[in-house]
C-alpha cells in the first residue's frame, strides 16, 4: 500500500497536468492565434469561445502545483526553485492573459488588451515549453540544477507555442463558422505539419541528450513494445489532417489533435519514468509520508469525479458555435 500510494498520487498529478495542457493549451493557442484574425469581431468571437471556461481550465495548473506540494514536497521545492525565472515569467504572462478577458471589452481601444492577450498567451506557452525541455533533460549536481537556458529547452519552448496554436486552431474551427473557421482550418494544417516536425525532432533529440532515455526506447524488448507509439502518432496526425479538410469533421479534427497531445505526453512519461525530479529523485524518494498521501488521495478520489461532472456540464451549457455579433459582455 505504501508503495502504491505515491504511484497513485503521481498519476493524479499527471492527470492534472494533462488536463491543464489540453484545456489551457487550446486557450493559450487561441491567444497565440489572435493576430491572425481579420477583424475585431472575429477576435470577439475567439475570446467569447473561451470566456465561460478559461478559469476552470487554468485551475488544473493550480491543482498540479498544490498536489505536488502536498504529495511530493521535496520535488515541489526543488523544481519550482530550479525553474525560478521561467515560472515567474509564465505567471506574469498568465496575469496579462487572464485580465485581458475582462479589460478588452471595457476599453474603447482594444489593441493594448489584444497585445496583452496574445503576448501573455505566447510567453506563457513558451515558458512552459522551456520548463518542459529542461525538465526532460534532467537535473545535475547535488543542488539539483536544471539548465533551462539552452538550445534544447528553447526549442521545446517554440514547439509548445506551435502545438498549443494547433489545439487553438482546431478549437476555433469547431466553435466558429464562416470565414473565421476556414481561416483557422488553413492555419491548423500548417501548424499540424510544424507540430509533427517538432515531435519528430524532439523524439530524435531526447535519446541523444540522455543515454538513459535511449536505453528506455531502443533496448529489447522495449523497442517492439513501444513501436506502436510512433505509428499511432502518424495515424493520428493523418486523422487531424483529414478532419481539417472541410467543415463537417470539425469535432474529429479537434479530438484527434487532443489525442496527438496525449500520445506525446505519454511518450514523455515513458522517457521520464520513474523520476519526479528527473535522474535525481524518484517518485518514492520525494513522496510525503502515508498519512499525508492518504488524506490527499481520499480527497482526490472523492471530489474529482464531481469536479469532472460539473466541468462537463459547464461545457455542455456553452456548447455549439459562438455566433457573431452578440458577445457576452
Amino acid at each position: 500500500m505504501t508503495e502504491l500510494l505515491p504511484l497513485l498520487l503521481a498519476g493524479a498529478i499527471a492527470f492534472g497536468v494533462t488536463m491543464y495542457v489540453l484545456l489551457d493549451g487550446f486557450d493559450l493557442g487561441v491567444g497565440i492565434l489572435f493576430p491572425f484574425a481579420d477583424t475585431e469581431d472575429d477576435r470577439d468571437r475567439m475570446m467569447n469561445s473561451l470566456a465561460p471556461i478559461w478559469d476552470g481550465n487554468e485551475t488544473w495548473l493550480v491543482l498540479g502545483g498544490a498536489v505536488l506540494f502536498g504529495a511530493f514536497p521535496k520535488a515541489f521545492g526543488i523544481l519550482t526553485a530550479a525553474f525560478y525565472l521561467p515560472i515567474m515569467l509564465m505567471l506574469i504572462a498568465l496575469v496579462f492573459r487572464g485580465v485581458a478577458f475582462e479589460y478588452r471589452f471595457k476599453f474603447r481601444s482594444r489593441w493594448p488588451w489584444n497585445l496583452a492577450f496574445c503576448a501573455g498567451s505566447m510567453v506563457a506557452a513558451f515558458a512552459q515549453g522551456v520548463i518542459l525541455g529542461a525538465y526532460v533533460r534532467g537535473a545535475s549536481g547535488v543542488d539539483h540544477q536544471f539548465h533551462w537556458f539552452g538550445v534544447f529547452p528553447l526549442f521545446t519552448g517554440v514547439a509548445v507555442v506551435i502545438a498549443y496554436a494547433l489545439l487553438g486552431a482546431a478549437w476555433l474551427n469547431m466553435k466558429t463558422d464562416g470565414p473565421l473557421a476556414i481561416l483557422m482550418r488553413r492555419r491548423a494544417r500548417m501548424l499540424l505539419v510544424a507540430s509533427l516536425g517538432c515531435i519528430a525532432v524532439v523524439s530524435v533529440w531526447t535519446p541523444l541528450l540522455e543515454p538513459a532515455i535511449a536505453a528506455r526506447w531502443f533496448s529489447l524488448p522495449n523497442l517492439f513494445v513501444l513501436a506502436p507509439i510512433p505509428v499511432a502518432t502518424a495515424v493520428t496526425g493523418w486523422l487531424v489532417w483529414y478532419g481539417l479538410r472541410d467543415d463537417s469533421h470539425d469535432a474529429m479534427a479537434f479530438v484527434a489533435s487532443v489525442v496527438l497531445f496525449l500520445i506525446t505526453l505519454g511518450g514523455l512519461a515513458i522517457s521520464l519514468w520513474p523520476w519526479i525530479v528527473p535522474r535525481s529523485l524518484t517518485i518514492w524518494q520525494a513522496a510525503s509520508p502515508p498519512e499525508s498521501q492518504i488524506f490527499l488521495g481520499v480527497g482526490l478520489a472523492a471530489i474529482l469525479p464531481f469536479v469532472l461532472a460539473y466541468t462537463a456540464h459547464n461545457y455542455w451549457v456553452f456548447r455549439g458555435k459562438v455566433p457573431t455579433g452578440s458577445g457576452y459582455h
Binding site: A51, P52, I53, D55, G56, E58, T59, V62, G65, A66, V67, L68, F69, G70, A71, F72, P73, F76, G77, I78, L79, T80, A81, Y84, L85, I87, M88, I92, L94, V95, F96, G98, V99, E102, Y103, K106, D143, H144, S288, P289, E291, S292, F295, L296, G299, L300, I303, L304, V307, Y310, T311, H313, N314, V317, F318, R319, K321, P323, S326, Y328
Partner: protein, 450 residues
Amino acid sequence: MELTALLLSRIQFALTIGFHILFPTLTIGLALLLFAHEALWLATRRAIYLQSCRFWSRIFAVNFGMGVVSGIVLSYEIGTNFAGFSEATGNVLGPLFSYEVLTAFFLEAGFLGIMLFGWKRVPGWLHIMATGMVAIGTLISAFWILAANSWMHTPAGFEVRDGVFYATDWWAVVFNPSFPYRYTHMVLASLLTTAFVAAGVGAWYVLRDRHAEFGRMTLRLAVITAAVLAPLQLVAGDFHGLNTLKHQPMKVAAMEGHWHTETGVPLLLFAIPDQAAEKNHFEIGIPKIASLILTHELDGELKGLTEVPPEDRPPVAPVFFSFRVMVGIGMLFIALAATGLVLLLLGRLFAYPLYLKALIAASPLGFFAVIAGWVTTEIGRQPWVVAGLMRTADSGSATVQTSEVATSLALFSVVYLLLLLVFIGVILGLIRKGPTTGPEPEQQPRFATA
C-alpha cells in the same frame, strides 16, 4: 539590512499577497450580495433587483478575474521563493491547499461561466444555484486558506522529525486553535468591506440624483448590513485578540507596544516604539484599559516583550501602527453604521449630503483595514514562519539567486501597480455608467440557443 534573496522574496510575497487579498475580500462579499439580490429578484420579480444583479456581476467579474490571476502567483511562490518552508511544511499544508483547489476553485470556476454568461442559457433555478455555488466556493476557499495560515500561527496536530513537520491528526491541523477566530474575523471583514463599498456607491447615486431608486435600495440594504456586522466584528476581533494573547503573547505585546511585564497596563492611543531601547516615546494612553480589554480586570497582568530574548521579538512599530489603523477604521465603521441606522429609523437616511459624502469617502477603507490587519498578524508572528518552531530565516530557497528575485520583484511591482490603476479605473467607469435601465437580459440578443 542586507538585500538577500530571502529578504527580497519576503518583500515580493508581501507585495503579491497584499495585492491579491484585495480581490477575494470583495469577491466573498459580492458573491453573497449577488445571491441575496437574485433571490429577491426571483421572489418579488421587481426589476430593480435584477438591475442590481446585472450591475454588481459586471464588477464581480472584473474583480474575480484579478483574484484568479493574482492567486495563481501565490501558489507557486510558496515553492519558488520558499523552498525551505515548503519542504518542511508540505506534508501538512500541501494537502490543505489541494483541498482548496478541489473543493473551492473548481466549484467557483465550474459555475462562474453560468453565473456571468448563462442568464439566457439555463432556467432561473439553475442560475441562482450557480450563483450560490460560486458564493459557497468563495467561503470554502477562505476556509482552507485560513486553516493553513492559522496553522502557521498556532500549529497543532503534528510532530517534527529532523526539521520536517508530519501530520498526526488532520482534524487538529485544520481546526487549530486560532482558526475559528481568524476565519470569522476575515469573513466578517469581507462582508463589512463589501457593505461599505455598496454604501458608498449607493450614496453617490443618491447624492448625484442618478439611478436614485437603485441608489436608495443599495444604500438601505448596505446600511442595515453594516449596522449588524460592524459591532459583530468588534466582538469577533476581541475574541481573536484574546486567543492571540493565549497562544502568541508576544504578538499582542507588540500590538500594544508593551515592553515590560506589568499589571494595570494602559491602552496606548499613540506612541513611537523603539525596538533597540525597549521602550516607547511620546506615549499617550488611557490607564489600565489594555489590562481591562485583554484580561477583563483593571489590574490584570500582561506579559511584555522583554519576556523573550530580542531575537525572538517581532518588529514592534509596524505591528503597533497597523493594529491602530485597523481598529480605527473598525471604530469609524461602527460610528457610520450606527448613524445610518438611526437616520434610517427616522426616515432621514438620504437627507444629509454630509453623511452621504462621508460614506463615499469611507467606501475604500475596508481594504485598508484588511491590509492593516494582515500586516498586524503576519509581522506579529515574526521572527517565526511557523510560530515558535521554524524561523523565517530558514524558509527561503537556497538555489535561487538574489538577482533572480530582484528581477521578478521589479516586474511584479510594475505590473501590479499598472493593473491596480487599470482596475480602479475600470471599476469607477462601471460605477459611473451605473445599472443599465434598458431591456431585461432575457430580451437582449444573447447567445443563440444551440
